[in-house]
Symmetry: C2
Subunit: 390 residues, 2 copies
């Protein structure tokens, strides 16, 4: 619609310019020469007739131009207006993000399933000073913990949701890993796929520097938009007697048997460290190594993968977006087959991947839950310059 109107204007302008110009000229020229004398009236009549004809033509051209412009105007005004769009969205409260999370977890895979599970899981909440004055954080460092209210920005259905919040319906029930096969009403779960994709989590407040709050024990993926943070008030928020249904007690968070590192892990980490050091939330390769150990101390694989790691390998493509920790790279396979990796036949030959601070951590896990961290390399996101990490 707008394109049409834009392309219309030049034409209109040229038309009208020519029209008015020629009308003016012809009228001027005619009035100069038409002092009637006794000779050549017929000639003058023709001139005059021509001039009048021209004037009338230009007039109708102008008229066409006006009508076209007015049609375009009507169309433009018939389109939804800012005011209308706004009032439409008054039912849907426009919650503007106040900041963004810079987290060690580059992808959902490996991000802990609950807060405070990985003490070394660091994040910085960087507040948008155009929305939030720095002074609004004063006093926060006095609390040990804070709530973070955020947007599940990685949900795949969000575009639809934002465009027509009142019309976008979600599945009423979700499959929970703890109850095999069974579905539970979404409001009986903490699933991200909720009518309002708002997340609630708690973290330890490490420090407040200017517009940045340093947190630990987070379960937030890098790039998460923040809507609000609130201090954790034990006398309100901690309910000793609170109970949950039995199926929730069947905890799906499994500790692994052991986490060990391959011989050339350290050298591979040192190689990468130079690249991430400046923007890292961690002070040294050793601290980063400890993070890896803490993250992999819990089996971060999906239920399906635990049961059938080889299926998981075959299903890589199916679940690569939602669950991108079983991508087997050719060079990994070669390493494996050519025996560059320590030979441990008890390990599945599935290479799992974990992205921390944009680094690609590859590991294997055996049938009894011993994890071998093989190496770290620059993730594709690092090579392409990941927006999340910066």
């Amino acid at each position: 619609m707008r394109a049409d109107q834009n392309s219309l204007w030049p034409t209109l302008f040229v038309t009208c310019a020519l029209a008015s110009f020629s009308v003016a000229i012809s009228f001027h020229w005619w009035s100069r020469k038409s002092r009637p004398n006794s000779n050549g009236y017929a000639e003058k009549f023709q001139e005059l007739e021509a001039a009048l004809k021209a004037a009338v033509e230009k007039c109708s051209a102008e008229r066409q131009g006006r009508i076209r412009a007015q049609r375009a105007l009507r169309d433009a005004l018939n389109q939804p207006h800012f005011g209308e769009a706004e009032s439409k969205l008054l039912k849907a409260y426009p919650m503007a993000q106040i900041g963004v999370v810079k987290s060690c977890f580059s992808t959902r895979n490996g991000t802990p399933r609950q807060p405070l599970l990985v003490p070394l899981a660091k994040a910085s909440l960087i507040f948008d000073l155009t929305r939030v004055p720095q002074a609004s954080l004063e006093g926060l460092e006095g609390y040990s913990h804070c709530w973070i209210i955020y947007v599940f920005h990685l949900n795949t259905n969000l575009d639809k949701l934002w465009k027509k919040p009142s019309q976008s319906k979600l599945k009423a029930k979700v499959r929970v890993p703890r109850v095999k096969g069974e579905k539970i009403g979404v409001f009986a779960t903490r699933s991200p796929h909720r009518p309002c994709p708002i997340g609630l989590t708690v973290a330890k407040v490490e420090a407040v520097h200017g517009q940045t709050v340093l947190l630990s024990g987070v379960d937030l993926v890098d790039g998460t938009p923040i809507l609000d943070i609130k201090p954790y008030l034990p006398y309100c928020d901690s309910i000793p007697g609170a109970t949950v249904p039995d199926w929730v007690k069947m905890d799906d968070i499994l500790a692994v048997a052991s986490v060990s590192f391959s011989e050339d892990f350290s050298s591979s980490l040192v190689d990468c460290w130079a690249t991430v050091e400046k923007k890292s939330l961690y002070f040294s390769p050793d601290e980063f190594r400890s993070l890896i150990k803490q993250v992999l101390s819990w089996d971060i694989r999906s239920v399906a993968q635990r049961g059938h790691p080889h299926n998981a390998l075959l299903k890589t493509d199916d679940c690569s977006r939602e669950d991108d920790n079983t991508i087997v790279r050719n060079n990994d396979r070669e390493d494996l087959e050519s025996g560059h990796e320590p030979q441990s036949h008890s390990f599945h030959d599935v290479i799992y991947h974990l992205a921390l601070e944009g680094l690609d951590v590859s590991y294997r896990i055996d049938s009894i839950g011993n994890v071998l961290v093989e190496k770290v390399c620059l993730g594709s996101s690092m090579q392409n310059g990941d927006k999340n990490i910066s």
Copy 2:
């Protein structure tokens, strides 16, 4: 802008109609009469001259009309467009409410300062089935408690906030009652006046009936829009070791010394009960009386009123919107002066008011914190038919 354009159109149409009409006529008339013959050339010249003059004038009129229409079009298109408004609001996530709270607390005054303080404080969360299928609540009743994420819909600055979320700035620091005079960064408080006016509270799950969740121990005012509810998970949400700054420990929630009821309280309650019974969250006048007792067991007056109840009385008009519990009605004063109420000179002669389920509960409190509940009557909201209660 649009108003101008609307008023512009008729003028334009009349102008162009007249213009084209007269041009057509004059040209037609001229061409019929201008078969040149040998007589009266001078006259013909004048006619022709006039016709051409007219044509040129109409032409410029048409031109003016076209230009005006094109200007209007440009202005219309320069206004924010639906597409633009939407993309603008993608930063501000449009969170559509999933339901609304029907609570016993008709106004902010008397609504507890924290959850679970008033066990009998009942509310029903009524979910909007166009947004939330009923099945989405299945399994919720298995939890003892749930989080409620809601909108602070009574904040007075919300209109501005919804219209320009990115531009609306709030005060960085807020005055907290616990720290006299001192201000704290808003994110170190649970103040409702936050960049995103999102509230977080917990309540006891009593039952789930169809699209309605019955709660108790709420601190929610009637009519609160709900964005989300989540089950309370002790292993995530309860943090035994969590600490708060010293100023938070200075608890401003004061228990009163006693709560007693005047002689004619019961009869006044019975009189009102018939009106509220059908839509009440309570089963009997006795249960409602117990609610009043629980609510008034905590001093719900503002810090200022506690210090200077008579000032509070004088300041009625100033704080009647924010803090509408000191409105003294004439009939109350008369009752008081004519001694219809039990004479207790230790009581301040300030009548405080509390609205529960739209009923107006009047009480007095003496200097050592003994509360005398005087009577209940139909609140103005009941007589006018309060939208919140229904």
